[in-house]
């Protein structure tokens, strides 16, 4: 849980893309292990293993490869600076704690921390998407957001049928894959992956 909060803060505060990818991977793995701590079922185990493989190995490898091909290592001059982003972190955490106090759950859950942390992760993901320029960082933001939603699903201990869980995972996988390809094309077309210069279309 603490690991989740920490990883979020690191993502907010770091400019090196490689480190960002690793941290998001750690976050994914931590999320995969988390449900196993409370209850142990075979179905849960299979799903956890799958999601750990995907988020801990496949995504980081895929994204790092894109990184190497493109030869971009740093997020330069984001819309919102790193200091300010970091400062935003605690506020977001406080905000999500406040929200979760206002939303009474119909039943008790394992840990009262889970919902605020899930919401926090979600907000951080959204914030990264809107405040960073590099297309790759936006994909990372999308992943963080997805992690937050996943954590929320876990928090309410709600298990959808296996097929649907797998479908969600597959969608995320294909999504990142397609976005990776798009990034590759963007870098070839524009010689950079700064999305602030994707602005030919308006009105």
């Amino acid at each position: 849980m603490v690991l989740l909060i920490l990883t979020n803060m690191v993502v907010l505060g770091t400019s090196r893309l490689r480190a960002c990818i690793r941290v998001v991977a750690v976050q994914g793995v931590a999320l995969g292990i988390l449900p196993l701590l409370h209850s142990f079922e075979w179905q849960l185990l299979i799903f956890a293993v799958l999601s750990i493989i995907l988020k801990g190995i496949v995504f980081p490898v895929m994204l790092s490869r894109t990184l190497r091909q493109l030869n971009v290592w740093q997020e330069e001059s984001p819309y919102v600076g790193y200091g300010l982003s970091l400062l935003m972190g605690p506020f977001a955490l406080a905000f999500s704690s406040w929200i979760s106090l206002r939303l009474p759950l119909p039943y008790t859950i394992h840990s009262t921390m889970l919902i605020p942390v899930a919401l926090f992760t979600l907000i951080v993901g959204l914030f990264i998407i809107v405040s960073r320029k590099k297309a790759l960082t936006q994909v990372l933001g999308y992943l963080v957001m997805e992690n937050g939603i996943y954590a929320f699903g876990m928090a309410i201990a709600y298990h959808q049928p296996m097929l649907i869980e797998l479908g969600v995972l597959l969608d995320v996988f294909v999504g990142v894959f397609v976005m990776g390809i798009a990034i590759f094309h963007i870098s070839r077309q524009f010689d950079h992956i700064n999305t602030d210069q994707l602005s030919a279309l308006r009105n």
């Binding site: 709600y158 999504g175 094309h185």
Partner: protein, 490 residues
């Protein structure tokens, strides 16, 4: 059995077309799959098919209506696509807006994505489980992104990136909405109602209403992003204007409807839980805002494909407004779904013909469509009249039904806004479109023979709208009534 066929035929055809090297064969597979899909849908109208996978996929009234629209549109679009692909050359060609060269994506990938698009839409429309709807909806985004990036130049790439990112984030938000619905459906002892549409609606009284409210808001915002409800529509004009016209037609006529189905499913549950007024007000608000946004951007729009795209925003607004008003307006709104899909698809296809001849999307650079390509010119004018709700087209009938319902309910402010916005859009739309059709072409473009494949599909679609304006078949009326009953109409 039938539903399996509906899902598997485009899937298998899509896989096959990835590996086939011969253009003619691949194109015939596209046509064959589209024809089979429509044929099976026709059979389903005659005899209702059994649900499959323990009821996860079923052919209920909503699915019947929306899937039929999607299938018919896809059939017309596939014929058009074959003509389009024949005309597109493989070698690099000059970008007509900026002097750069670009190539097209491989045709095999384009065809495969088209077919997969049909499959994922079938999944999204027929699925009865909220989780499954989500999975299918995200899948439609992913398979349609390569379609938008068919012409590999930087504007289409920009459109694709915006589409991917905005829609993915939107749909992620609706996943959160699904979780809220799951919380709403659980009892204090930890047991819960399955997230099936029918189960939720049947046990609606046990749902926790604050969570249902939150769930509806999140699902509305999430799928609303994809449906193109303002102010979440920002991806839509870019994607529609940069995609090949046949893809724009499918996006506008079928994809937006898919997202609408997602919202309607949630709306049905919300209504069953006794929160109808709450959901209605939200839809009315989003509907009017969308119409207003569209009106502002259509006035003086320079690009005629963007103009059509904003018109989609407007019509999605009308649909949301109609459902939100309740009563007879729900029926009108469902009828309007059919009319809008047919008309807008036809218009985009005709716009593709104009674009192919004039090589510009700037409306003021297009002059004398009538004299140069007369059939397309005729269809263009007919389509413009239809989309702005001119009698005797079906759109007039459905827009009028909604207006009548507003006045009967005595909501004169909404009626005034609705009429005013429609009038503004009518004036600016026709001003732009008629100037394109009339006059002589100043560029001295050579007169062209129009290919059958490029004029018959839009003509058929427009003829359909014309027929619906005069006569609505009994079976269709029954289905529309069934849906309206589910959604708090009559």
């Amino acid at each position: 059995m039938m539903i399996w066929a509906l899902i598997l035929i485009p899937f298998i055809a899509g896989l096959l077309s990835l590996f086939i090297r011969v253009d003619v064969l691949r194109r015939s597979i596209l046509i064959a799959a589209a024809v089979c899909h429509t044929a099976i849908i026709t059979l389903c109208w005659l005899e209702n098919p059994e649900p499959i996978l323990a009821g996860w996929f079923a052919f209920d009234a909503t699915a019947k209506l929306f899937l039929s629209i999607a299938s018919v549109l896809f059939l017309c679009a596939s014929f058009y696509a074959v003509g389009y692909l024949k005309a597109e050359r493989h070698e690099p060609k000059k970008d007509f807006e900026e002097e750069e060269f670009f190539v097209n994506a491989p045709e095999a990938i384009f065809t495969a994505c088209l077919l997969m698009f049909l499959m994922t839409m079938t999944l999204a429309i027929t699925s009865q489980h909220f989780g499954l709807i989500w999975v299918a909806m995200e899948a439609t985004t992913l398979v349609s992104a390569p379609l938008i990036y068919f012409h590999r130049h930087h504007r289409s790439l920009e459109a694709t990136w915006k589409y991917l990112l905005i829609c993915s984030v939107g749909i992620a938000i609706s996943l959160l909405g699904n979780f809220f619905l799951a919380i709403a459906a659980s009892a204090p002892d930890g047991s819960s109602i399955p997230l099936m549409r029918s189960d939720l609606a049947a046990n609606a009284s046990q749902l926790l209403s604050p969570w249902v409210k939150a769930a509806f808001i999140f699902i509305l915002v999430g799928y609303g992003t994809k449906m193109g409800l303002a102010p979440l529509h920002t991806w839509l004009p870019d994607a529609h204007s940069e995609a090949p016209s046949v893809v724009s037609a499918l996006l506008s006529g079928t994809l937006l409807n898919c997202a609408f189905v997602g919202i309607l499913r949630a709306y049905e549950v919300t209504a069953a839980a006794g929160l109808l007024p709450f959901a209605q007000n939200l839809l009315i608000l989003f509907g009017l805002v969308s119409m207003a946004f569209a009106a502002v951007f259509i006035i003086g729009q320079a690009d005629y494909k963007r103009m059509l795209a904003y018109s989609s925003v407007e019509h999605m607004g009308i649909l949301a407004l109609g459902v939100g008003l309740g009563g007879a307006a729900v029926f009108g709104s469902m009828l309007h779904t059919v009319n809008h899909s047919l008309t807008k698809a036809a218009l985009f296809l005709v716009a593709g013909n104009i674009l192919a001849v004039y090589k510009t999307k700037i409306a003021s650079h297009v002059k004398g469509v009538f004299s140069l390509i007369s059939v397309s010119g005729f269809l263009w004018i007919a389509g413009i009249l239809a989309i702005t709700g001119f009698p005797p087209f079906g759109t007039f009938l459905s827009e009028f039904t909604i207006l009548k319902a507003i006045i009967e309910q005595g909501r004169y402010f909404i009626a005034a806004a609705y009429l005013g916005l429609l009038a503004i859009i009518f004036v600016s739309f026709s001003a732009i479109a008629f100037r394109m059709a009339q006059g002589r072409n100043t560029e001295n473009l050579p007169a062209k023979n129009e290919r059958w494949l490029s004029i018959v599909p839009p003509a058929v679609l427009l003829f359909g709208v014309l027929v619906l304006g005069v006569y609505v078949p009994k079976q269709l009326t029954n289905v529309l009534h069934d849906i309206a009953l589910l959604l708090g109409g009559n």
